[in-house]
């Protein structure tokens, strides 16, 4: 079950490229894992390391203090491509708790929310301001659906159920299991029972 998310104040890391796909976030060759843990070191691997595995110089992701930089600001159309949940796992394990962009892919959004990583879509103007200020301190206030930085305050929307799950620590699967009687009835009424 993900950690609850209420209010987060942290600095940003900016990756301005558009259409950063989940193959960039976590390249396929790291997907042979059978656990969720430990993917942070391979996040954005091909952007961070040389062919011999040594870190590339001048790459912020290799030098930044992940503890104090928990918000990723990314270019438009973030996390498109593969449905791999390894992408939010890798971002969380690296240290991020929120991602801000103008558009964020559907499957990624759903996967991220289930793991306590908050995807936030903002308007173009806000996005441009954030892109222009790497390392800015931002506050993400899920209780009030507000993103604040400098003297800016912008609202954002999160699917209400996912929001409640994050704020109150409601567990998706547990909630579904509580409704299993409705599933049984549906199967009976539609001839979908086991043979």
């Amino acid at each position: 079950m993900p950690e609850p998310f209420k209010v987060l104040t942290s600095q940003t890391v900016v990756l301005p490229q558009k259409s950063i796909d989940t193959d960039q976030i976590i390249p396929a060759r790291f997907l042979t894992t059978t656990t969720r843990e430990g993917l942070g070191k391979s996040a954005f691997y091909d952007w961070r390391y040389k062919a011999d595995g040594k870190p590339l110089a001048g790459v912020e992701l290799n030098t930044v203090d992940a503890e104090s930089h928990r918000v990723l600001v990314a270019g438009d159309n973030f996390a498109c491509g593969s449905s791999r949940e390894h992408a939010p796992w890798a971002l969380l394990d690296y240290g991020f708790r929120a991602v801000v962009s103008t558009t964020i892919a559907d499957i990624f959004t759903s996967n991220a929310l289930k793991n306590g990583l908050l995807p936030i879509q903002v308007d173009k103007e806000t996005h441009e301001k954030l892109l222009a200020r790497p390392g800015a301190e931002v506050t993400i206030d899920l209780e009030n659906n507000e993103l604040r930085f400098g003297n800016h305050v912008v609202g954002f929307k999160v699917e209400p159920f996912a929001r409640r799950c994050l704020l109150e620590g409601v567990d998706n699967l547990g909630w579904m299991v509580d409704r299993i009687v409705a599933v049984e009835t549906f199967e009976r009424e539609n001839g979908l029972e086991s043979a």
Binding site: K18, A28, T32, T35, C80, S82, E85, N172, M176, A195
Partner: protein
């Protein structure tokens, strides 16, 4: 109001299937519970889901509606003399073993190493008749939309959701918006479903389908065979749409008839009648409509690093509209306003869940028959399933490929995702029938051009991106 106005609101195909599978409706506070008819699983996106449900003491609720296969991490070279398979890493092998163990433990049928049913999940499930019209089909894999070719609602899910389906046979969902993509007219000879898909994605844009379920309609779509419809639906996610579907028709019914898990006898006839009723009502409203002229589509090849960066083979790459286009062109080593056909190609890959079916193998073989692969080009042909492999070998297609100088491999995802060791080397230019041309998708530093099987085969022969119509005799004479 006219007296003839229908009593019920006209509905889309998507609405009809969706509504039939709602267990509890969505409200402003909570998503609905959507019932899943068929849950497909593979080794990469399932281990953590099994671990999650087991840690809660939950069982797989409907093993009979769950079906597994091995495809992503599996080597495509045969076992050695000791019977050991050449896995790329120990971890890849242990991932396969984990799925074998999980399926055995939970009573799930697995098309494993020894099964004739094994194949890429989106190739084998339709072949087995597991995929049927009117179903909700899900898999922890973004190309699950493939199954929409049968008039099913089919979409990719994450691993947490794989756990939800294993434990409850349901998903928490809100209904997406609907978009209809109509392709009028007829495709010209030498132009395939893949070219149509790339043309549609170029039109909608890479993120343009985000939040929508697509329905493909129009004469050119109806004119496609089932394999072509699968190729088309397969690439819906490359426009950002999680799901794409085609209404069932006589072709659909005949394709499913007689397959291993399809209903039999009278039950089939009854099912077929129901399947044929699944179509969008006249006057049903879509949130968005897109229209293309099928007769204007040419063989396509991508010039950039997103699947929407497609242009007709031989047409110049566009002038960059922004920094991203610039970055994509320079990554690919292509120049603006120049055709991409002038560059020597290092690798050609024919396979994947997009183009790893029998019709794809035939399209490629027809061009390679009696010809030689250009010196220095590595060509890998990987059938999508054991069934495709066997059928191709029965027709002698494997011999056509190997005689031309290509490698004929065992079924699997292979170089589409490059996690089994079949990789493009850094900097190499690869022309591929797969579905993603992202930076490094086929190996670190790999440069990928997406094309149809015929174009891939023509490229293998020419040594540079080539229009297949120059190689197909029927067309040359036309």
């Amino acid at each position: 109001m006219s007296p003839n106005e229908p009593r019920t609101t006209p509905k889309t195909l998507f609405d009809k299937v969706w509504e039939s599978r709602i267990v509890t409706p969505e409200t402003s506070d909570a998503p609905g519970l959507l019932y899943v008819d068929l849950h497909l699983i593979h080794e990469v996106t399932s281990p953590q889901a099994f671990a999650e449900i087991e840690s809660r003491g939950l069982k797989v609720r409907r093993p009979d509606r769950t079906f597994g296969t091995l495809d992503h991490s599996t080597p495509t070279l045969p076992p050695n003399a000791q019977g050991l398979r050449p896995y790329v890493t120990k971890q890849a092998e242990s991932q396969v073993e984990t799925l074998e163990r999980n399926c055995a433990k939970h009573g799930i049928t697995l098309a494993g190493w020894d099964s004739d049913d094994r194949g890429i999940v989106h190739v084998m499930a339709p072949e087995l008749g597991l995929t049927q019209p009117g179903q909700v089909v899900v898999c922890g894999d973004s190309h699950t939309a493939t199954h929409g070719a049968f008039g099913a609602i089919a979409f990719g899910i994450g691993t947490s959701e794989v756990g939800h389906v294993l434990a409850t046979q349901c998903l928490l969902q809100r209904k997406p918006k609907r978009m209809r993509v109509t392709v009028d007219g007829n495709l010209r000879p030498g132009v395939s479903a893949k070219d149509m898909a790339l043309a549609i994605i170029a039109e909608i844009g890479f993120g343009g389908g985000s939040g929508y379920a697509l329905e493909y309609a129009g004469e050119a779509v109806r004119g496609l065979d089932m394999e072509g419809r699968m190729t088309l639906c397969n690439m819906s996610i490359e426009a950002g749409a999680r799901c794409g579907m085609v209404a069932p028709d006589a072709k659909t019914v005949e394709w499913v008839r007689g397959r291993k898990y399809a209903p039999k006898g009278e039950a089939f006839e009854q099912a077929a009648e129901r399947w044929l009723s699944l179509k969008t009502d006249d006057g049903a409203l879509f949130d968005k409509e897109v229209r293309l002229d099928g007769s204007k589509i040419a063989p396509m090849a991508t010039w950039g690093t997103t699947p929407d960066a497609g242009a007709a083979v031989g047409a110049p790459a566009p002038a960059p509209r922004n920094e991203n286009d610039q970055r994509a062109l320079s990554y690919m080593g292509f120049a603006a306003n120049e055709p991409t056909t002038g560059h020597p190609v290092d690798v050609v890959f024919i396979g994947s869940c997009t183009n790893g079916r029998m019709t794809d193998m035939r399209a490629a073989a027809n061009i390679m028959r009696g010809r030689r692969v250009k010196d220095g080009v590595r060509v890998l042909v990987v059938p999508g399933s054991v069934a495709v492999q066997r059928a191709a070998e029965a027709e002698g297609l494997d011999k056509v490929f190997t005689a031309a100088g290509a490698e004929w491999r065992l079924p699997g995802c292979s170089m589409c995702i490059a996690m089994n060791g079949d990789m493009v080397q850094p900097g190499q230019l690869a022309v591929s029938t797969s579905n993603r041309n992202f930076e490094g998708r086929q190996g670190k530093g790999a440069r990928t051009v997406l094309v149809s099987p015929a174009t891939a085969a023509a490229t293998a022969i020419a040594g540079h991106i080539a229009d297949p119509r120059a190689y197909a005799e029927e067309v040359a004479h036309a």
